[in-house]
C-alpha cells in the first residue's frame, strides 16, 4: 500500500528509528511500510497518522484497495 510516511517523516527531519520509537514499532517495520512491503494494522496506521497530525486517509492511500 502506498503511504506518505517517508515524505512526512523527512519533512519532520526524523530518522526511521526515531519515528519507530514514537509510534511504538521497530525501524524495520517503518522501512517495510515506506517500501510498500507491509500494510500497517488499523492501530499502527492510527498511531502514525496521529503522530503526524493527519487522518489515516491522508497518510495511507486506499485508492487501489478493493472493497
Amino acid at each position: 500500500m502506498k503511504t506518505k510516511i517517508a515524505e512526512l517523516r523527512k519533512a519532520k527531519k526524523m530518522s526511521q528509528e526515531e519515528l519507530a520509537m514514537e509510534v511504538g514499532t521497530t525501524r524495520q517495520t517503518i522501512t517495510s511500510l515506506e517500501t510498500e512491503k507491509y500494510t500497517a494494522s488499523l492501530v499502527l496506521a492510527y498511531k502514525i497518522a496521529k503522530f503526524f497530525g493527519k487522518t489515516i486517509e491522508e497518510v495511507f492511500d486506499f485508492t487501489d484497495m478493493e472493497v
Binding site: M21, G24, T25, T26, Q28, T29, Y38
Partner: protein, 142 residues
C-alpha cells in the same frame, strides 16, 4: 509498560535460576558419572552454548531495565506487529511442511525398519493432536 517491566525482571530471575541449575547439574554429572569421551565433548559443547545464550539474554534484559531508551526499544521489538506476522507465517508454513513431509519420510525411511516407521507415524499423530487441541482452544478463545 509497567507490566512489561515486571515481565522482563521475572525473565532475568528465571534465566539466573536456570543457569545456576544447569551449571550445578553439569558439575555433578562431570564429577560423579563416568561418561564416554565423545559424550563429554557433546555435553561440554552444549553447556557452553546454552549458558552463552542465557548470559546473552540476561545481559540484554538487564541493560534494558537500566536504560529507558533500551527498554522502550525492547518493548517495541517484542510487540511489533510485523514481527508477530513473520513469526505466525513462519510457524504456519513450518507446520505444513512438517505435516506433509512426515508421511513421505515414514514411507522412505520406514520401508526397511518398522521401529523407524512407527516413530515417524507417532510423531505425525502427535503433531496432529497438538494442532487439533490448539485449534479448538484458540477458536473458543477468539
Amino acid at each position: 509498560m509497567e507490566e512489561f517491566r515486571k515481565k522482563v525482571s521475572m525473565r532475568v530471575s528465571i534465566i539466573t535460576v536456570i543457569t545456576v541449575i544447569y551449571l550445578v547439574l553439569y558439575f555433578l554429572f562431570m564429577k560423579y558419572l563416568k561418561i564416554d569421551d565423545r559424550v563429554v565433548g557433546f555435553i561440554v559443547g552444549s553447556v557452553i552454548g546454552i549458558v552463552s545464550i542465557l548470559c546473552f539474554f540476561s545481559i540484554k534484559y538487564r541493560k534494558a531495565l537500566k536504560n529507558e531508551y533500551e527498554f522502550k526499544k525492547l518493548y517495541n521489538y517484542e510487540n511489533d506487529e510485523r514481527r508477530k506476522l513473520i513469526k505466525e507465517k513462519t510457524s504456519k508454513i513450518t507446520l505444513m511442511v512438517t505435516f506433509f513431509s512426515l508421511p513421505i519420510f515414514a514411507t522412505i525411511f520406514g520401508a526397511n525398519n518398522e521401529l523407524v516407521f512407527k516413530i515417524i507415524v507417532g510423531i505425525f499423530f502427535y503433531i496432529l493432536i497438538v494442532f487439533g487441541i490448539l485449534k479448538v482452544y484458540f477458536m473458543k478463545k477468539f
